[in-house]
């Protein structure tokens, strides 16, 4: 009597190469995303609120983002700078004619004393950067 069974002759060709590719891609993606999220959390700032804020501002070709968390450290983009270094960087960026194409965004914690922000405003004025915007939250 012949017992029906699996046909082992042909086999099942299962190519797992693309699966491995995608799994690796996902691992790299999640690692990078979680790293960025952690970095962002380190510079968390509690922004002040304002009613006269622009929700859809006009885009400028160049933008410098200065972040000042509650610990009063100064960050230009992702770099942590001292006050003098920041002033020099602003002067270097804004050298030349009055620069309408450059915008400075100040993301400062609402508890930061004004004496930390004032030198940045003065440096912007010296560097001929007139467009300075404060990041705020709408009430």
């Amino acid at each position: 009597m012949k017992i029906p069974g699996r046909d082992r002759g042909r086999g099942l060709n299962f190519d797992i190469t693309p699966l491995i590719d995608i799994v690796f891609l996902l691992i790299i993606f999640f690692l990078a995303a979680s790293h960025l999220v952690r970095n962002e959390a380190a510079e968390a700032v509690e922004l002040p609120t304002a009613t006269q804020s622009e929700t859809d501002p006009e885009e400028t070709p160049r933008r410098l983002v200065i972040t000042i968390p509650a610990d009063q450290t100064l960050h230009l983009g992702a770099r942590e700078l001292t006050q003098q270094e920041l002033e020099q960087a602003l002067l270097a960026e804004g050298m030349g004619e009055p620069n309408q194409a450059l915008e400075v965004r100040i993301r400062a914690d609402k508890s930061v004393p004004y004496q930390v922000v004032e030198p940045i405003l003065v440096a912007c004025a010296k560097a001929q950067i007139s467009k300075v915007k404060f990041a705020v939250l709408a009430p």
Partner: protein
């Protein structure tokens, strides 16, 4: 095809979850005087209606008080009312914010926002770049 749909859904769920906690930021613009600070120094030009000096002070009990033309406002609503009525009469009158170094930025933004909401045409920040003589930088 099935595995691709799985992964697409996975990514979609990830981005939806990641964007849930995102806070939308707005921007409060200021227009600083460009050029050297010496050029931004306010010359003593006679204003027909004078100018409004708002001095923000941090008191000993960590409270911010606004001083407007020798009158103290500890209540922000009261200051807002005064500024609004003043701006209705003469919006062209320049407002100069003189802010003590210890005043938190949140309070400074609140007063600046109130001045903008009152529709004043020019709002300035008084600065002391060399910490010897006060000068004013155009703020709006």
């Amino acid at each position: 095809m099935t595995s691709m749909i799985d992964i697409v859904f996975l990514l979609l769920i990830f981005f939806v979850c990641a964007s849930t906690g995102q806070v939308v930021e707005s921007l409060l613009p200021t227009e600083l005087a460009s050029g050297s600070l010496e050029a931004a120094t306010v010359e003593p030009v006679e204003q027909p209606l004078g100018e409004v000096w708002i001095h923000l002070i941090q008191t000993e009990n960590q409270k911010t008080v606004a001083e407007l033309n020798d009158r103290r406002y500890s209540d922000h609503a009261e200051l807002q009312l005064t500024l609004t009525s003043l701006a209705e009469l003469a919006p062209e009158i320049p407002v100069i914010l003189e802010i003590d170094g210890t005043v938190p930025l949140g309070e400074m933004i609140k007063v600046y926002d109130t001045c903008r909401a009152a529709n004043f045409e020019s709002i300035h920040f008084a600065t002391t770049p060399d910490y010897s003589k006060p000068q004013a930088t155009n703020g709006n």
